[in-house]
Symmetry: C2
Subunit: 512 residues, 2 copies
């Protein structure tokens, strides 16, 4: 076959695939991806036949697992981030930024088997670089490199993972992380309990429904494994298995522990008894009375720490939403103390609460910075990462459900003209209003129709419109119209700024 014939065969096969996917009602993303391949094949066929300009050869798309954010999405994002940042600032956090890529070695050995998901840059003669995978490792590198031993900082930025993401479920290869961390040597559980308070304030201010903040402690987990008879070299891998309990039933996790990780039935069942426990202070007391458990020094330390943080949560007013949960494990190796996870709650048909998704997570990592310091100087850290992508998705879905419209601009006043040839008058008035600090726009056409201008104001939810007409201009007045009520008044030109200020303070001009 000629190469042309080969491509034609490929096009035929790909076309069949697309039709099958459509018939099977596969996800839009999946279909779009295969359609893109089809178009690419067709384009490559054309290349041989004609001298198409080089800019036409490729399929117009964003890279796999990424997307553009249109203005509506950006408006929702910025409004969420404003609220999140406000809470961080209420707690005195500064912000920093680090490059989007790091020397590859900085990331090596920090993410376990997930390292294969790191994006590498091409070696173009120079350093070997990778895109950042999270914000915690760059933060630890930043602290060690700049010899900073205490800081309270937030960092909101994009991170990159070469995952095969379920885009339909809001997971992408490029996504935002939003981290708050407290580094420094302080008294026990004080910064740790403030992190819980920060998560609590954020989720409350976002008004996205009921939530619970689960707490556990790595030392208690280790002590519990010890008490159950897990060999010390299996603590981390059993911890990973426990971490799956939020997605899998106990029976599956038990099977993994026995079949894959080599625990005996008896040991696994002992763990099973513990990990179904959750509660608050009374659970701490119960476990402190567990003669088997408290043989482990690590378990007792973990329980004492839990007791303290629960007391602080009570003082900080977060205890009602806090749950001490022995099934919480967190995947990452570097946690050394308290661990957190906040979960949104939905209602089941029968009125019970059910977890619908994790929206924050974190914990204490006291040894990560030392991994970067030449002398292994430790800087203890504790922090939380707010799952803003999940929150964006929840809010976008809410808006769609309520058919709410998002205002993407903040224009306060539109300057319209009722007749032809008033274009320069419009420009002049815009100039005066911009000078006075108002958010103003007008049509970029010289002689737009009045109806089209008014329609634009309604479409864009612009609250006020000034209508210029020749007769009013002669009298030194303008017509001011409330777009919602359609009520119109005449205002003396010189009084416009005060009049606009007064009327704008009355109209509700915000997004939900």
């Amino acid at each position: 076959m000629s190469s042309k014939e080969i491509i034609e065969k490929q096009i035929q096969a790909q076309g069949d695939l697309v039709r099958q996917l459509k018939a099977a009602k596969e996800s839009k993303e999946k279909i779009a991806e295969e359609v893109a391949k089809l178009l690419q094949l067709k384009a490559s066929l054309n290349d041989g036949n004609q001298t198409a300009p080089s800019n036409q050869k490729f399929v117009l798309k964003t890279p796999k697992g990424t997307r553009d954010y249109a203005s509506e999405q950006m408006t929702i994002r910025n409004s969420v981030l404003d609220k999140v940042i406000n809470v961080f600032k209420k707690h005195g956090a500064v912000t920093i930024d680090t490059p989007i890529f790091e020397l590859k070695e900085v990331l090596t050995g920090k993410y376990g088997e997930d390292s294969k998901l790191i994006y590498d840059l091409k070696d173009q003669g120079g350093e070997i670089l990778s895109l950042r995978y999270d914000l915690t490792v760059p933060f630890a590198r930043f602290l060690a490199m700049n010899k900073i031993s205490n800081i309270k900082r937030y960092h909101i930025a994009k991170v990159y993972r070469r995952d095969n993401p379920a885009m339909s479920r809001g997971r992408y290869r490029e996504f935002y992380q939003c981290d708050f961390d407290i580094a420094g040597t302080y008294d026990e559980m004080i910064p740790d309990s403030e992190c819980v308070r920060v998560v609590h304030e954020i989720l409350t201010s976002l008004n996205i429904g009921k939530f619970v903040i689960k707490l556990n402690h790595r030392k208690l987990l280790d002590g519990m494994f010890e008490a159950c008879g897990v060999p010390a070299d299996k603590f981390r891998s059993i911890c990973s298995a426990v971490d799956k309990l939020d997605k899998s039933p106990w029976e599956e996790v038990r099977k993994e522990m026995i079949d894959e990780k080599g625990l005996t039935d008896e040991v696994a069942d002992k763990i099973g008894e513990y990990v179904r426990l959750s509660g608050k202070g009374e659970l701490v007391e119960k476990l402190l009375a567990d003669s088997n458990l408290i043989k482990s020094k690590s378990a007792v330390e973990g329980l004492e720490a839990m007791k303290l943080i629960l007391k602080y949560c009570q003082i900080y007013g977060t205890l009602d939403q806090v749950s001490f949960d022995l099934s919480l494990a967190r995947g990452l190796d570097y946690y050394t103390g308290i661990i957190y996870e906040a979960v949104l709650l939905g209602e089941t048909g029968s009125g019970d609460d059910v977890a619908v998704g994790s929206v924050a997570g974190g914990g204490r990592y006291d040894t990560l910075v030392g991994m970067f310091d030449p002398k292994h100087k430790q800087v203890p850290c504790v922090g939380v990462s707010i799952g803003v992508e999940r929150i964006f998705a929840v809010l976008e879905a809410q808006l769609e459900k309520n058919k709410s419209k998002v205002r993407t601009t903040e224009i306060e006043v539109y300057v319209a003209s009722a007749q032809k040839n008033l274009f320069e008058q419009r420009m002049l008035l815009c100039k005066e209003l911009w000078d006075a600090g108002f958010k103003v726009e007008h049509s970029y056409k010289k002689n737009p129709k009045l109806l089209a201008q008014l329609q634009h104001c309604e479409d864009e939810s612009i609250p006020l419109v000034i209508i210029l007409g020749e007769s009013e201009l002669e009298k030194g007045v303008v017509k001011l119209r409330n777009v919602t009520t359609r009520e119109e008044v005449e205002v003396v030109r010189g009084d416009l700024p005060q009049e606009l200020k007064a009327r704008l303070s009355l109209v509700t001009n915000c997004l939900a």
Copy 2:
């Protein structure tokens, strides 16, 4: 030689190089770079000798041409960007975002010989990707892909260029761009003159000194080349030569035109006559009376457009800072109409203004979007890019010169304790004040010294401090201290929120 001996030789040579650079008082960046190489060599030598943990092997640095932004820099940046965004919003712009990388083909053929500076990602099995080089090409791709034919948007994001940047002069491989563009088919020079107004408002609001906004028109440049006798196929390359006039004297540019680009002396000298001209409306009139120039249809069209935009600049109140400048050419190929460049002015010793650096640039590009559309559907665009990196550098230098301190947090009230064991009382008061919306912090130590707490407030410019003491707690009052004046009053605990609100509105609590 063994590999160990080779490395030892290399270390010796590199050590000599570092000493030479220090002796020659080379730039800090250069020296740091070579020291880093030296340390890397030393580290690789150790690898063979001992089993150092893998995290110790590499030099702790950010990739070449990049840097971390500490909290002081972020504070300056965010304050500049807030002002810039406010102006964009005053003009009704929405914002969008695009992925940090694009399919390599999207960028191919858009940047001429600068394409070699594009960062590529490693082929890890999948699409061939590159980091974005600017925000204009992704914007054009976004418009074509989403079939958007009119939008007014701003986009502030990082872009990447594998340049050999002069970091000492504030140029980096990773830097922010800050673009405002108006896409759509509108009446002539209306969006174009609003872009000038946007630049004018931004530079005025930033208060960074005198500036001039240079304007020219690609059609006039082409017509001028035509009238001077430049062959049509040399228009773009002669345009690139003219573009160097902001950095090189005419004599050098003339030499390039003759020696490298093959113009005759006579043609080059004719161009020289024109490019030294600048002015406003009177210059347009003078050129419209130039019998040689107006033989070119393109020149006349360019001049009529200039006449119109200068009139609109007068209406929009920007004309005083505008200069019609025939030496302005702009490097990029894709401009098709008006072009802009804003320049900051410094004073020479003799009191004359002198250009100290470009802080904004842009122009009209009516054919770029069509390059992405399968049917070559055009979407006319005009826009400006604000040179925020230059602006940050200018402001950082100003702050350093004035020894001004930047406040990096917004904490309003610090809760201190005067005696031991008041820690939980402090926590409780913080909780109450956070609940009331105040920005509050306290020490993460249980029993900090009062003096240390007060010193922290002074260091961080926190305006108010509440001092808890046992005797006051018994009376149901707290001591409220103004950190600057050191004046103290007793306030009834229940009155704190109102009292704090009143006092905070009095203290100046902002950064310069």
